[in-house]
């Protein structure tokens, strides 16, 4: 198999970066002439800087696919399922910060996107989702492959457009991109009837958008609210930063580090906020919440000022609200006004873009870049003793598991991946136990290195998302960590990896069960295991090979190290089936409906030894 397609993708990315040819292309695309709606669509996508559209053809988008035929500028990746296309566009968007684009036909093509749209919406990912529809004259008559996708996706999308005439198409596409990426980002649907993609019109680049300018400008924070928070930070004795996905989205990682390091504030991150502060930073406490670290959850219980930034107090983070940060004044830096005070009473609201708000806060605290970083003695004795209390918790109650030389432990596999990739790889996960182990035992030193479905918790997301992340980052190592359940929800995309030589390293943490469900049935439903046995799943190595992807397997530590080294040295996609202990549980755990203080640490011996050592 020739790696032609992968090369083409790299070349396409290079071409867009080269200003000369890029400008020539732009001038060619801007030419005013009479063209079809489909050609208008492709031109507008290219003018928006789209480097790859993930899609699947069908009857209602035939004109659009016809316009692609022989078009040397336009890149399209044919997935094997529309769900694969939308998740790939999502992985592209999360890993690059640019808007992802996918394309599907009407009816079933469009409805197959629904899970992916909801996934992107819950995690505020900018997507432009283009669907075909039946001709305008047939709308509403239950024509073959007709579905009201704008109506269906209305509660799970940031916005939706139904384009009724070709003259509106160019402006609508620009508006869709503007809406998707502005403010709190999200997916925008553009539904294009077949006659609109067929009709022709004079192409005029839409300079004017029919949108309020306030919608598109970044929201600066109110100065007084920033000052009030700065004063509270100066006074606080046990401050804590809670960083969410908004830090990643707004590109505020540097500002966050400046605040944390300058003022001596420890940081915990949500699942979506992993990488907001480098995992190697001593101020980082790990993830908080249901499967958070002891130190992070204890910090929530004992802090006197909690500064949540770009986070929305999800129930998996707070657990029972009457047990969340009860001793703390709460500050909330958040772009979406509707999130402030939605679940938690806020004492210091700061509404605005997280990057703008944090840099204003750093200025107010004299921590901005022009200043020298504060000396350690500028941090008050109270804050210093808070930091040493937290380090003691980190040291005494680290994440631990019982290792084994006979059976392979899933946590070992994640640690091995982190150790060998230096915290720089882009790691996507699916949903379940392996997702939590990845968050716990992975090392994420940069933003946009953990790609995971946090809000919706979508199984089948991780692998296609890795394909999209690889397209957007052709020079980076992309690792897709999956369970054996989720791997079977979008396994068909192995074909795309094989044919296009997309060099994703596909990891299967194979415990032959639906592990997280098993864990709940064990701990909450008194061991009544119901429909969690995935025995009889295909041999993943043979499955990979059937698609033309190299397959490897490991069942103990030694084999794991060897096959993983082989996978990393392989120039192309590889699937590695790590056959792990099927009874391993994710700890710590705060059972649903409990307070953070009621966390279960798991195997008492692991911490017992530690405590004895201390005495």
């Amino acid at each position: 198999m020739e790696p032609i397609e992968a090369m083409e993708i790299v070349q396409a990315a290079e071409r867009i970066e080269t200003t000369d040819t890029g400008e020539a292309l732009r001038q060619r695309l801007l030419r005013r002439e009479r063209i079809s709606g489909s050609e208008i669509l492709l031109r507008m996508l290219l003018l928006e800087g789209v480097e790859c559209v993930f899609g699947y053809p069908g009857g209602a988008v035939l004109y659009i696919y016809d316009a692609m035929h022989g078009n040397p500028d336009f890149r399209h990746l044919l997935t094997r399922h529309e769900q694969g296309a939308v998740h790939a566009a999502d992985g592209y968007a999360r890993s690059t910060g640019r808007t992802g684009v996918c394309l599907a036909t009407s009816g079933p093509g469009a409805t197959n996107l629904v899970t992916g749209i909801a996934t992107a919406h819950m995690d505020s990912v900018p997507l432009v989702v283009i669907t075909g529809n039946v001709a305008t004259s047939l709308i509403g008559t239950d024509t073959f492959q007709e579905a009201d996708i704008i109506g269906i996706t209305q509660p799970i999308a940031k916005h939706g457009f139904f384009v009724t005439q070709v003259e509106d198409l160019a402006r609508t596409i620009r508006e869709a991109f503007a809406i998707a990426a502005s403010g709190r980002p999200g997916p925008v649907i553009v539904d294009i009837p077949k006659d609109v993609s067929a009709a022709s019109a004079e192409f005029i680049y839409p300079e004017q958008l029919d949108l309020p300018p306030s919608l598109l400008a970044p929201v600066p924070p109110d100065e007084n609210s920033v000052k009030a928070l700065a004063a509270a930070i100066r006074k606080a004795e046990r401050p804590l930063l809670l960083a969410g996905g908004g830090i990643i989205q707004s590109g505020a990682a540097d500002e966050l580090a400046q605040l944390a390091q300058g003022a001596g504030i420890p940081v915990t991150t949500t699942l979506m906020g992993m990488g907001a502060l480098p995992a190697d930073d001593p101020l980082w406490l790990g993830m908080l919440g249901m499967h958070g670290t002891y130190a992070a959850n204890q910090a929530i219980l004992h802090c006197d000022l909690l500064i949540a930034a770009g986070a929305r107090f999800d129930d998996r983070v707070t657990m029972r609200l009457d047990g969340f940060a009860q001793r703390a004044a709460i500050a909330h830096i958040e772009i979406d006004a509707a999130e402030i005070g939605k679940l938690v009473q806020v004492d210091y609201p700061v509404q605005g873009d997280a990057r703008l708000a944090l840099s204003a806060l750093n200025r107010a605290l004299d921590l901005d870049a022009a200043e020298r970083p504060r000396e350690a003695d500028a941090i008050s004795p109270a804050v210093r003793s808070w930091l040493s209390l937290l380090s003691a918790w980190k040291k005494d109650f680290p994440l631990r598991y019982r290792d084994s030389d006979e059976v392979l432990k899933p946590q070992y596999v994640i640690e091995m991946i982190a150790r060998t990739t230096g915290g720089d790889a882009i790691v996507t996960t699916d949903v379940g136990q392996h997702q939590m182990w990845t968050a716990q035992y992975g090392r994420f030193n940069r933003p946009r290195t953990l790609i995971t479905s946090g809000g919706l918790g979508t199984m089948g997301f991780g692998f296609p998302a890795a394909i999209g992340a690889q397209i957007g980052n052709p020079d980076r190592l992309v690792v897709s960590v999956n369970g054996d359940g989720g791997m079977q929800m979008c396994a068909q995309e192995l074909a795309v990896c094989a044919i296009r030589r997309i060099p994703v390293k596909i990891v299967v943490i194979n415990n032959r069960t639906l592990g997280m469900i098993k864990q709940w049935q064990e701990l909450v439903y008194e061991g009544r295991y119901s429909h969690i046995d995935l025995g009889g799943s295909p041999d993943f190595v043979l499955l990979a090979e059937a698609y033309g992807v190299k397959g490897l397997r490991a069942s103990n530590k030694q084999e794991a190290e060897a096959v993983w080294a082989e996978a990393l040295a392989t120039d192309g996609p590889v699937l590695i089936d790590f056959v792990v202990d099927k009874d391993e549980l994710v700890y710590p755990m705060v059972p649903q409906g409990e307070r953070l203080q009621d966390m279960l640490l798991g195997d008492p011996d692991l911490y017992g030894e530690k405590k004895e050592e201390k005495q």
């Binding site: 509660p155 940031k158 006004a337």
Partner: protein
């Protein structure tokens, strides 16, 4: 006065805008008493008046969530005592000729109007705040109500 509050919402006339607004209410479980909608003073824009029952916090949430909709131009809380809130109500009564005078008396007291009279029915039009129309309905029950149509309150600050 009740714990009812009003939101004055200006929206762009776009396909699906009403569906988006009403979908938001049902999805987020807000308690909505009524929604009225009609054209506004601005071309291509409609005005909705939403009567909401709930806490101050819920009220703020509804306003914030509405502002996130792309086609919503502005959301103006009118407070819990708007200067003017009016609802149009039509009531069809089953009225024998000998009761007509009594009904007309009620109509006069409530300053509403008889807009249609049939051999055994009358149609009454009432404009007022919700409480007044509720009171009128209670009194009209004695005459056999056949049909009621209410618009819900629209409101405007003074």
């Amino acid at each position: 006065m009740s714990d009812r509050q009003y939101l004055n919402v200006l929206v762009r006339d776009r396909p699906g805008v009403l569906q988006r607004v009403s979908g938001l209410f049902s999805r987020r479980g807000y308690n909505i008493d009524s929604v009225t909608v009609g054209t506004s003073e601005r071309e291509g824009h409609s005005r909705l008046v939403v009567a909401v029952r709930g806490s101050e916090r819920e009220f703020g949430q509804i306003a914030s969530q509405l502002r996130k909709l792309i086609d919503v131009v502005s959301v103006l809380p009118l407070g819990d005592q708007p200067a003017v809130a009016r609802e149009l109500m039509l009531v069809r009564l089953s009225v024998q000729p000998d009761s007509r005078a009594a009904v007309r008396g009620l109509v006069e007291t409530f300053r509403c109007a008889v807009v249609d009279v049939g051999p055994e029915t009358m149609m009454i039009q009432a404009v007022g705040d919700r409480e007044k129309n509720d009171a009128l309905l209670t009194l009209l029950q004695a005459y056999g109500i056949l049909e009621v149509a209410r618009t819900g309150e629209t409101a405007m600050s003074r």
